[in-house]
């Protein structure tokens, strides 16, 4: 008797070895895809969207690459997801996490082929990850107390992060930019208050961090272009015709003269509103919504600078910088907190006019202006800078630091190897495999730089047998170098997150012994 089909048509089921193979292959394919972008000499990828315009993105950022891929393999989706989470959580290490998970699965595949049960591999991996974590925790450096040293740590981290990106030529410059920007946040991880304005033209070197705040808007016609000692009212209110909001209200009149009356009343109302706003004693008014010509004219008459249509983020940042509150009603001028700044002026960057607020009170927000030859360069620069900012802001909170250049991986691998030697049973194979997967990362970094990876990694391993070794791969000179001297550092939090989520994902994929794919939902034909 033949077994009936249990599933719906088009649904498929893969079992046991086949399922495992499908997920291994899918995961490794993804890891191999992003592998070449790892390290300071990693290469970029061009992504072309299938949408209209075929827009092109050039990037080196793992998360961005993976996000844009259309993937059908479920195991690969797991990897894409960990990279996305890594991006959200710490911002950097998005490539490393996928590569490490891929390497762990590659090693696991060999073990499974040698007839070791996946559960045994998992328990080995778990022991190994615990051991690796302890190794990292022991070697971690924390310079929180010493402000000077901490700042130099931040500089080093920023430089290390940026060195694998398009900004590596000017990493010194950008690292300084990023560190300054993050230090202004005073411990907050809200990167929203760092505004990045991209203006094509000039070179990357011309990018700068502005002390004050720049709003990408124009000043209304006939209004002062320069205000000293500005008092700013930041508002979110309708400045078009200020409708009556009561539902169902409408104007119904019986003669033309009435229309004129009501129009006059409306104008009067707007005039009143403007008067109320002016009564705050301000000389600059920034609104989130549109400002129509009529009120604009009124403001111009009163010598007030009125800026319309600043988007919500802009308003929020402006409120943060100037210390004003975002107002929507204007009846009690005495109690509304106004924002202050020393100077408002119109500046030119490239061909565009922007409004510049300088000498601000609080300075919790700031603006970075990026310049570059093309949109692609600017986009990539923004992503790189974003990565650096994320890492830095996380480091400000968790100030533990590690050395870079494959150093942490070698430290972990050494301890994990030792654990493997001590552990009886089949698990030790898995633990050994874990250390091999860790070593794969410096190997890939060396390979990507066109160096003799086998030679270098072997030298590195030998170096690491010494106590207190700080050796890592110096990609620039192509040899084993002292990471502490070269000033290559990484944030502990990033490495920690990479280690844990890569293992978690590998474990998850290893545990699967069956893949059931449902029939894809039928798209309704809209034609």
């Amino acid at each position: 008797m033949a077994i009936d089909r249990i599933f719906k048509d088009e649904a498929s089921e893969e079992k046991g070895e086949r399922a495992r193979m499908a997920s291994f292959i899918g995961a490794m394919a993804i890891a191999d895809l992003v592998k070449t972008t790892l390290g300071p000499k990693g290469m970029d990828k061009i992504l072309q969207s299938t949408g209209r315009g075929r827009s092109v993105t050039v990037t080196n950022d793992g998360a961005t690459i993976l996000k844009s891929l259309h993937i059908d393999n479920p195991a690969a989706k797991v990897l894409v997801d960990i990279s996305k989470v890594q991006d959200d959580e710490v911002g950097d290490g998005t490539t490393s996490v996928v590569v490490l998970a891929g390497e762990l699965l590659r090693e696991a595949e060999k073990l499974v082929a040698a007839k070791i049960h996946p559960m045994t591999i998992i328990s080995g991996y778990r022991m190994a990850v615990e051991c690796a974590r302890n190794a990292l925790l022991q070697k971690v450096m924390d310079n929180k107390e010493d402000e000077e040293k901490f700042k130099s740590d931040l500089m080093k981290i920023a430089k290390t992060t940026l060195s694998s990106k398009i900004l590596s030529q000017d990493k010194e410059h950008f690292a300084k930019l990023a560190v300054d920007a993050v230090l202004r946040l005073k411990g907050s991880t809200n990167l929203e208050s760092i505004q990045i304005i991209k203006k094509p033209g000039g070179s990357l070197k011309d990018s700068f961090l502005d002390e004050g705040f720049i709003l990408d808007k124009k000043i209304g016609i006939g209004q002062p272009k320069r205000i000293e000692n500005a008092k700013i009212l930041v508002a979110n209110t309708a400045m078009d015709t200020d409708k009556v909001k009561i539902y169902g209200a409408r104007v119904r009149v019986d003669s033309m003269s009435r229309v004129a009356d009501i129009e006059a009343a409306e104008k009067e109302k707007m005039r009143e509103k403007v008067q109320k706003i002016i009564a705050h004693g301000i000389n600059c008014f920034v609104n989130r919504q549109l400002i129509y010509n009529f009120p604009e004219e009124l403001f111009a008459d009163a010598g007030i600078l009125a800026i319309e249509h600043a988007d919500f983020d802009g308003i929020e940042r402006l409120a943060l910088v100037t210390g004003g509150e975002i107002a929507s009603t204007f009846d009690n001028p005495e109690s509304v907190k106004l924002g202050h700044c020393k100077l408002i002026e119109e500046i030119m960057i490239g061909e565009d006019k922007l409004i510049h607020f300088s000498g601000v009170e609080l300075g919790q927000a700031c603006t970075i202006v990026l310049r570059g030859a093309s949109h692609h360069v600017l986009d990539e620069a923004e992503r790189s800078l974003h990565d650096a900012l994320c890492v830095l802001s996380q480091t400000v909170n968790d100030s533990r630091v590690l050395l870079g250049g494959g150093w942490p991986e070698m430290v972990m691998a050494k301890d994990v190897d030792e654990l493997a030697r001590k552990t009886p049973g089949k698990k030790s194979h898995a633990i050994e495999a874990f250390s091999r997967a860790l070593v794969a990362i410096p190997t890939i970094i060396a390979d990507n730089a066109g160096l003799d990876s086998a030679e270098l990694v072997a030298q590195l391993r030998a170096e690491h047998q010494k106590e207190g070794c700080t050796a890592g791969i110096d990609v620039i000179s192509g040899s084993v170098g002292d990471m502490a001297q070269l000033g290559i550092s990484e944030a502990f939090k990033v490495k920690h997150a990479v280690l844990l989520s890569a293992t978690e994902a590998a474990e998850m994929i290893l545990r699967v012994d069956e893949i059931i794919t449902c029939a894809p939902r039928k798209r309704e034909n809209r034609m």
């Binding site: 990167l191 006059a264 998850m508 069956e514 029939a519």
Partner: protein
Amino acid sequence: MALAFDEFGRPFIIIKEQEQKTRLRGLDAQKANISSGKAVARILRTSLGPKGMDKMLQSPDGDVTITNDGATILEQMDVDNQIAKLMVELSRSQDYEIGDGTTGVVVLAGGLLEQAERLLERGIHPIRVAEGYEMASRIAVENLERISEKFDFGLSNIEPLVQTCMTTLSSKIVNRCKRSLAEIAVKAVLAVADLERKDVNLELIKVEGKVGGKLEDAELIYGIVVDKDMSHPQMPKKIEDAKIAILTCPFEPPKPKTKHKVDIDTVEKFQTLRVQEQKYFDDMVQKCKDVGATLVICQWGFDDEANHLLMHRNLPAVRWVGGVELELIAIATGLSCLSFSALYFICLLFIWIDSIKKFFYGSSTVFFFLYLPESNVINVFEGGRIVPRFQELTPEKLGKAGLVREKSFGTTKDRMLYIEHCANSRAVTIFVRGGNKMIVEETKRSVHDALCVARNIIRNNSIVYGGGSAEISCSIAVEAAADRYPGVEQYAIRAFADALDSIPMALAENSGLQPIETLSAVKSQQIKENNFYYGIDCNDVGTNDMREQNVFETLIGKQQQILLATQVVKMILKIDDVISPTDY
């Protein structure tokens, strides 16, 4: 055939369009049904036990779920076969009733079907098989009762509860930190449990998850976590001793539901309307302020002007909070609980039907009706009031919380609102973190299972030993009882005993042990020493004494498994005709 002849020899048709339908009858139907039932059980078989594997499921929309939970696997499997659907239902009902053991119940049903097939081949009538199974299941359930042990636990001694939850969690991917998750689950259940009535309302426990961080970061919050932030960016992020006004009316101009038009035809009218409108906003905010609220939680949105007024009057507010969360907040921030006997309540209903109606529409207080069949009591939980109109705000209707704070996560603009130290700490939230979306989802499911288990123990503190020991013991008891039954049922009862063995067999198989060898060794040990602690040593600890390994399962869970599985198998066996439309 579905073709009959009347007394004149003319054929007439019983089933319409019968050529278009496929039809299976008699033994063929039973065998086909059994084989599809077995196929479903086979899928789940490898997920059983601490060394069980996971399944990866891709939904019609391409989303990936990785899980080990039987009910979830079957639910997402998108089956087409009718019998397979029955099995899905089976696992779902175990999930609703007990919350754990959803895999085991399907594997057991599979085992029963497999044995039934053999009996059918010998020519035993399916009904006799079904009856034999019924008798055997009774014996098994009685045996479970006999070998069960009472558990003593209290608020100070939660160790036994934790151990049981750990048994549940050990088969999941989260077993790396099963200890801490089990403790969280137990504490959460104890926080909301009513130990006198031995009941737990799991609705009061909310399981929230957020990707990022690691499993170890999971925490228990005595309060509510809402995935929302303050409506105005400059409102305070932390409020102590908050008095919360919970509103279901928007901070917007009134919108009467009847159709109406306000006509403006003179300048005066225009101006009065404007003044009215401003006053309206002002009144709304003032009302909240007047009753002494320090935090407003609203189900709807705010108008810009209202938002600013709130901010200006120093009244932090949260908008767009979903209905379920709103109710939870209401319960957490102030709850009085009334219980009536059911009869009394029904009388009340009749007498007060009008006033109750008014009560409902008037102030729409959250009520939770909880009917407990054993004690014949309906509980009416009355929450901190949800207020539908500003006019009805009074100081008594405000909820209270010790601390409300906003917490941000990661590098993106992700914020959550924690409402803690509530007046009534009986609503708790378990907050789960994990490296990726699938892990977080799976952890939530696992925590749910653990919560159910803890609740079951509080309801009924009897436990049996796990690791297949209970099944082996039942199998021995059923086997021994079989000989006492005369007639064909004897065979069915014996077959039932064999089917019970399928669970420890699957456990052993999944743990990489020799199934037959291990099972027979354990069985003989149980009989020889007359000791029902012996089970399968899945974790390779070195002992198969489950008492030493601290592997416990709840008695009601096990009993339910056997009863449900038997019921479904009986149902499948009784089908002798399958009519289905052919594919077109």
